[in-house]
Symmetry: C2
Subunit: 413 residues, 2 copies
């Protein structure tokens, strides 16, 4: 084995990002490579071929998760797992998912190039259907890996193009006959995922690396405030039961509270007044609330506060409010030692970092149920993602890979 | 002439309200008798026949306004005009318009029964197409009377049933061959209109009569607040440009200001967030504002305040707001002496009254351009109108007619 320390080959990584982005490339510079399509199979085959050429073990499982393993010196130890995804949104970007996979492969190659022996095997996972845009659920592959099984009802689901999920999984597996089929799930020592932030924080603060401490919990409420329809001209305020007055009061007060909590998020994405006549006090206002917080108890407390504010504002306006939870995903806190490892690795690699919470879901959310997990974020321009304009500066892509390499060296011992 | 004072025959008035409500009666107790339909022609013919039987002069004009005149002792004086309308909304009520017309006819009959001679002629007008539900514009007849002409573009307009306004006007005039055609418009000494309140104030305050001081001005704004679309999970409040935050702040503050002004009205009848994704900060919020005030300068001041609040709230949320006036009708203040006459007449008739402003449009708005005008309101149950459930207690219908009679006696001298 060589004594030279392993290093990321920036040129190789960036060229490979370009090569993979060419598969499903859109005229506007993005990528359309939805899960289990021909394009998805093509990049899986490209990566498998690169892995075989480097002597890595290539396997897949029943969820069409793809694994490339560089062996360690102690075959009895569970491997360190790196991973992300290669599928995209229909008008997706070049980096969401692909950066984590290709940086992970770059780490395996860097170890190989430097002849570094790790005690544990280091395995790169490509998770199937993280995006969920063609088939539900998103994070299908990582969920199946964490559960050790595919949910029975998934196979019969159809995408908007009419394709059946079970058929597309089988065809995708068949398209890579050289990769041995292995059981779903297996013990791992830890999980590391590099991903773009998909938000504005790192860019605004001029930082290359985010040490992700967890993934926010998300809870969606559908709120209905019911008053009484009335003539806009003939009904004085004192005789109105105006649900817009209640909605404005509640939302204004909630926005004030949220602005003072650095970790809470509240978003009203949809709102309508019914019946929607320009010269009538509406009978009801229906709106959605997207609530997020990295702490489960805090998320519960936010929901309670939202319900209290809605009730109070409704009462003030002689209206009634009701709220129904229509989606609920608990937060996950990443392992403290793993987060510290990411921070230390960024520092060793020479990159400024900060801790932050992921506002979006990731495969790491499910892997964290199996083993200590953490994520590394790099900035993307203007925080834009799920968009053909998604862009990551080359220096940040490289910084992410370098941090992942340092973390791998420390976690794979 | 008899010395007995004229009196309203409550039984005759109420039976006549029933008889007219039977034309176009709906199964749910309302009336569908839209302007210039066969039903509208039928009630015009009924009223003309009643007028002829009492010896009144029956005429119509090119707008199909119908007039019944009881002569005065001095034919050189312009007449006192009473009036309202007989057309209804498609699912309208029994009293909106018809009460004013039939109470006006009851006043003429009461004068006739008592043999009271008035110096001025007292003329009852039935205005064409007040509602505007079949043909635009509403208040067609009173507008044409006030202008002395039909607007040239009206005749070519079509209703939702395909009928052409010009054809329906001609057919309506032809359906009443016994009524002489007279020119549009003529000098009048004053105008009085009895109408249901179409709002909750009189009922809530237990009053039989409202002395209407004017008709609110109405101004409609379409407001757009533009921010930036962003991921609901990944974008902290400090980095958001959330137009819903701006809208809630502006509407909450405006509702507070409006609640302290007894005469101002502000209504948000429509609101939407775009693009309308549950988990995205919207790019823009579009909403309508219906602003009303009886004073023109106050209405201007409200619009200025609305624009300032929108601008301030938008700036606070790093958004931009714009507002466009899409409808504007100036307020009208009724003649002070006429309003005092209505108040005094209610008192003489033994009915408690208060002054109030009309929140809805009425034919009186246009008559007030020609001569001193005023309106008498009576309560309707729950303030409901433009609805088959519209209802006026018989005692209030009679109280309105009694007040109209007393006012007529004083104005027709």
């Amino acid at each position: 084995m060589s004594a030279a320390p392993p290093r990321i080959d920036a040129d190789r990584l960036l060229k490979r990002l370009d090569a993979f982005a060419a598969v499903g490339a859109t005229p506007r510079g993005g990528v359309d490579r939805q899960a289990l399509t021909v394009g998805d199979r093509e990049v899986r085959a490209m990566l498998a071929g690169l892995g075989v050429a480097r002597g890595f073990t290539v396997e897949q499982d029943a969820a069409a998760n793809l694994f490339l393993r560089r062996s360690g010196t102690d075959g009895a130890l569970p491997p360190l797992l790196l991973g992300s995804h290669l599928d995209t949104q229909p008008t997706g970007g070049r980096f969401d998912g692909a950066l984590g996979v290709l940086a992970g492969f770059e780490v395996l190659e860097a170890l190989e190039d430097a002849g570094v022996a790790t005690r544990r095997a280091v395995e790169l996972a490509v998770w199937t259907n993280e995006e969920g845009s063609r088939f539900l659920p998103g994070c299908l592959g990582s969920q199946a890996f964490a559960a050790g099984a595919l949910s029975p009802e998934w196979a019969g689901r159809h995408g908007p193009d009419g394709a059946r999920l079970g058929d597309e999984l089988a065809a995708t597996l068949d398209a890579l006959p050289g990769a041995a089929l292995r059981p779903l799930g297996r013990p791992i020592s830890a999980y590391l995922e590099l991903h773009i932030e998909q938000g504005p924080v790192l860019e605004r603060e001029g930082l290359a690396i985010g040490a992700v401490t967890g993934i926010q919990g998300t809870r969606w409420l559908e709120v209905t405030i019911t008053g009484a329809a009335a003539h806009a001209g003939t009904t004085p305020p004192a005789y109105r039961r105006d649900p817009m007055v209640a909605a404005a009061a509640a939302l204004h007060r909630l926005a004030g509270v949220m602005a003072r909590d650095g970790l809470a998020r509240l978003t009203v994405g949809r709102i309508r007044a019914e019946p929607g006549s320009i010269n009538a006090v509406p009978e009801r206002v229906v709106l959605t609330l997207d609530l997020r917080h990295p702490d489960a108890e805090a998320l519960d407390a936010i929901e309670r506060m939202v319900r209290e504010e809605l009730g109070q504002a409704a009462t003030e306006a002689r209206c009634e409010a009701s709220a129904t939870v229509v989606f609920d995903m608990a937060p996950v806190a990443f392992d403290a030692a793993m987060v510290a490892l990411v921070e230390a690795s960024a520092a060793v690699a020479g990159h400024a970092s900060r801790r932050l919470v992921s506002g979006a879901f990731h495969d790491a959310l499910f892997l964290a149920r199996l083993a200590p997990a953490a994520m590394i974020f790099v900035p993307c321009r203007d925080g834009i993602s799920h968009n053909e304009a998604e862009f990551v500066e080359p220096r940040f892509a490289v910084a992410g890979a370098e941090t992942l390499l340092e973390a791998t060296l420390r976690a794979a011992v």
